[in-house]
Symmetry: C2
Subunit: 77 residues, 2 copies
């Protein structure tokens, strides 16, 4: 994959981080996934190493956890 993936859950800190990341990297370079609205994608996110949201998975597969806004456990609710 050549795009980064930004995982979030719609929380205020997620939205703020989303805007920052889009400004920095460019929206065309990022796939945005709202895990709160797409809970079927949570397993996939975990397999990619995401432990909390917001998180950015880079094209090389590294995971940058940003601001520890909420754990995936919270999103699963």
């Amino acid at each position: 994959m050549s795009k980064s993936i930004f995982y979030h859950a719609g929380c205020p800190v997620c939205i703020s981080a989303e805007h920052d990341v889009i400004d920095l990297i460019g929206g065309q370079n990022i796939t945005i996934i709202h895990l709160g609205l797409n809970k079927d994608l949570i397993n996939e996110a975990e397999e990619r190493g995401v432990k909390s949201v917001p998180a950015l998975v880079t094209p090389s597969g590294n995971v940058l956890h940003i601001n520890y806004g909420a754990s995936l456990e919270d999103v699963k609710g």
Copy 2:
């Protein structure tokens, strides 16, 4: 300021995040500051809202805390 500032303290998670951020944003758009080697800049980082490293301060002044590798208190040591 038009550049982002990446604060770190030389820890492995910091270096890994530094490489990711440079790949994503471009090294020419980032000022890298090693707080472990420049402890006189810790106060300035705190005034900008940095609470842990690695952290990225965006051109708009927002702070993205990445991976909570180490708290600034640890860096002060």
